[in-house]
């Protein structure tokens, strides 16, 4: 679906340029990580100079920024929000909790590996990552976009059954009720 830079057509280059410089972020502020978003967006670190700004609803967002641990209860909503976003869409996992569970690695109610449930394009390491790290994560995502490698959405579509099986493993009833994802 997305090609690397050499085989991109001129339309793709223009589109990727626009996508790269206009990232509307839906910050899913679970856990403690949400506190790092405010300085990232406001005067001190000013993410808007890179074209990054907040989006209020998943329909308008490009990036799903997951800031912190996800319980079984919230991961359902995150998956739902992700499926409501429109292509092209990217996921940034933020903090160790999304990478390996962090300090909640043995909690009965907190998922450990976010990429088993959603296709993560960029991970930002740290507990907590500072705003500089967040911005570096975004810059990395921009690089991936311009190279045409930020293809998490395509991965999700290809391996939909695998992702769905993982999701159903933790919350079978909810995901049976959820509307079908096939766009």
């Amino acid at each position: 679906m997305y090609n690397d830079k050499n085989s991109q057509k001129i339309v793709d280059i223009i589109q990727n340029y626009a996508r790269k410089h206009s990232l509307w972020v839906l910050a899913y502020g679970t856990g403690c990580g949400a506190i790092e978003i405010a300085p990232t967006m406001t005067s001190r670190y000013d993410a808007e100079r890179l074209g990054i700004r907040g989006a209020a609803t998943p329909r308008q967002a490009d990036v799903l920024l997951i800031t912190g641990y996800l319980t079984v209860k919230t991961v359902k909503r995150v998956v739902r929000v992700y499926e409501q976003m429109q292509d092209p869409k990217y996921v940034i996992g933020f903090g160790s909790c999304t990478i390996n569970g962090g300090m909640y690695y043995d909690s009965y109610n907190t998922i450990n590996l976010l990429d088993r449930y959603l296709p993560v394009d960029v991970y930002i390491n740290g507990c907590m990552p500072r705003p500089e790290a967040v911005i570096q994560g975004f810059v990395k995502l921009q690089e991936l976009i311009s190279q045409g490698k930020a293809n998490g959405a395509a991965k999700y579509k290809e391996n939909l059954e695998w992702y769905k099986a993982n999701q159903k493993k933790i919350a079978p009833k909810w995901f049976e009720r959820a509307p079908e994802y096939n766009w």
Partner: protein
């Protein structure tokens, strides 16, 4: 011929009532025949002329004829009557008291035509009373709240009838003739007191029917309580009889008065206040019927203002709005009736998301609402534009702001109406709802499309209005205020309606097609449950539509205005009267000794004041 038509109406009414008793289908058939046949005869055969029929009743001449003004109003009556009769067949199916409904329906159509053809006050009054009574039967037809609603309508109608009767008595005693033309021509010969009294009494009589501000109390309840098939007639045609009377009084009487301009300014401001206050009340309603009822009162306020201002442009606007209001309000009431028929309720809070279930109803409602809000390119705009231009050029600048406020606030209830019924989430509770039958949707769609046509080609209607206005003594307006769908004001400003329409259609089509074809294959329909609400999946039974306290922020802003209800003053007045009567009753104690004391006191007072009283 005219007599024959009215007799067919009358006979048809009775026959329908009887036929309904024998066989419902026969009743339906007879109903259709006895509305459509005489209506067709009326349109085909009755031409504008001074005297068409003449009878003598108890030594009084009854003269019937059709003036150009009455011809304009008769178009509304006949058109709405035929449409609503087709609509009513389906609407009333399966309801109670259908025979009574048919009877009253035909009778009020007959009475309205009778009023319009009357050339003398006696037949005018007789038909007026027939109209009032037949509509009263409709108001109390469903048998709910007869005590409060029926009484209100009855009291105000009686008030109107008595003041009209009083005016007629004065007219006859002073002029010795019951003819309308005699009254208008010899108006100068009346004494100055009567010259004020007669118009005021008649204004009260007609103001009741056209629901002008202090006399409007009966209207919201009466409109919303009668069957929807009839309410369209009620609001579209029957209230226009009041406007017809107002036109006669204001144009033919008050223009001959030195104090007439004062009366007209007062009436115009009353109309303006009616429009504004009724709009605010319409916003607060949660029932579609009530909302439309208040909205009708507001629109009649515009008409009354236009008539009272009385410049050619204002008159043109008012007459145009008379017809257009009948069209779009008829269509809206029909839509509410269709929703009531299909879902069993008209409450905004209960029913929602019907847009995919009842598309035709939605389209006709949408067109009518756009016409109501006065948005180009529909017909409401034409009259609104002319009315504002007339008011500004007549230096009624504060009145124009009041009306502007009313028409802007009308967007609120217009949206509330559409959102309440058609938009919002689709509920499994209403999944079974189907589109209303063709006989209901086609009349409402026809009326709505007519507003669309008149919005760009208003000259179709302006010709009749022009002849009606020439009958009232205005100059010809063709070429001065309008030519071929271009509207002019006296200052020379103009709106060319056809380019507007073409521009709107071109832009609309371009972007609609763009939106449709851009990424068409990737786009698919999802239900209204699939919305972005915090990642939650709404359950089947969860209704997330925003319904309760829909206009609450605005209601909070206008709270000081809403506190002042005229109804409360009337109730206070009624309570005061009751107390007075109570006091009077207490005087008559039924005790002989008390009466004796009264007599003695009376005699004593006589003795004391005999000098001053009898000299």
């Amino acid at each position: 011929m005219l007599t024959l038509i009215l007799v067919i109406f009358l006979g048809g009414a009775i026959l329908t009532w009887l036929g309904r008793k024998i066989n419902p289908l026969l009743g339906d058939l007879l109903f259709l025949v006895s509305v459509i046949l005489p209506a067709t005869m009326f349109v085909m055969n009755i031409k504008v002329g001074d005297t068409i029929a003449q009878h003598t009743l108890l030594g009084i001449d009854l003269v019937w004829g059709l003036s150009p003004l009455a011809h304009l109003f008769s178009l509304v009556v006949v058109g709405l009557g035929v449409m609503l009769s087709i609509y009513s067949i389906s609407y009333m199916r399966g309801k109670e008291k259908v025979g009574m409904y048919y009877f009253s329906f035909i009778l009020s159509i007959m009475a309205m035509l009778g009023i319009l053809v009357s050339r003398d006050w006696i037949s005018f009054f007789i038909f007026w009373e027939i109209m009032t009574w037949s509509s009263y039967l409709m108001v109390i037809l469903n048998g709910k709240k007869v005590q409060s609603i029926g009484i209100k309508y009855f009291v105000f109608s009686a008030l109107g009838a008595y003041s009209m009767l009083m005016a007629l008595v004065i007219i006859n005693s002073q002029l010795g003739s019951f003819m309308l033309s005699d009254t208008f021509n010899n108006f100068q010969h009346l004494s100055p007191a009567n010259q004020i009294l007669i118009p005021v009494l008649l204004l009260v009589a007609f103001g009741v029917k056209s629901a002008v501000m202090p006399l409007h109390i009966w209207a919201p309840d009466a409109y919303s309580n009668s069957p929807m098939g009839y309410t369209a007639v009620f609001s579209g045609a029957l209230s226009k009889m009041g406007v017809y009377g107002l036109v006669l009084v204001i144009i033919s009487m008050t223009t001959q008065l030195p104090a007439g301009s004062l009366i007209r300014i007062i009436v115009a401001w009353l109309g303006g206040f009616t429009a504004a206050a009724a709009t605010l009340w319409a916003i607060t309603q949660d029932d579609g019927k009530k909302l439309l009822a208040w909205s009708s009162i507001g629109q009649l306020g515009y008409i009354v203002t236009g008539v009272a201002i009385g410049t050619p442009l204002a008159m043109l606007a008012a007459m145009f709005l008379v017809v257009v209001h009948a069209l779009f309000k008829g269509s809206l009431f029909m839509a509410v009736g269709a929703i009531e028929k299909q879902t069993g309720t008209t409450d905004f809070k209960e029913v929602n998301g019907l847009i995919r279930k009842m598309p035709v109803t939605f389209i006709s409602s949408l067109l009518s609402i756009i016409a109501l809000a006065g948005i180009p390119p529909l017909a409401g705009f034409v009259s609104k534009w002319m009315l504002y231009e007339a008011l500004i050029q007549n230096h009624n600048y504060l009145l124009v702001v009041l009306l502007f406020f009313a028409s802007t606030a009308a967007f609120l209830y217009a949206y509330k109406f559409l959102h309440g019924y058609f938009l919002g989430q689709e509920e499994p509770e209403w999944a079974h709802v189907k589109e209303a039958p063709m006989s209901m949707t086609i009349p409402m769609l026809l009326l709505a499309l007519t507003t669309f046509v008149l919005g760009t080609w208003p000259q179709l209607l302006f010709n009749s209005i022009d002849s009606a206005m020439q009958y009232l003594g205005y100059d010809a307006t063709n070429g001065k205020l309008w030519t071929d769908s271009v509207l002019f004001s006296q200052w020379g400003d103009k709106v060319a309606l056809q380019p507007v329409l073409y521009a709107i259609i071109a832009v609309f089509l371009f972007f609609a097609i763009f939106l449709y074809f851009k990424g068409r294959k990737a786009t698919r329909y999802v239900t209204t449950k699939d919305i972005s609400t915090s990642g939650e999946i709404p359950k089947e039974w969860e209704n997330l539509t925003f319904k309760v306290n829909f206009m609450q922020p605005f209601e909070r802003a206008i709270e000081p205005f809403l506190k002042r209800q005229i109804e409360k003053y009337y109730l206070g007045f009624g309570k005061g009267m009751e107390a007075l009567f109570d006091f009077t009753r207490r005087i008559y104690t039924g005790n002989g000794q008390t009466y004796a004391i009264y007599a003695i006191v009376f005699l004593a007072l006589l003795l004391i004041f005999r000098v001053s009283l009898f000299g």
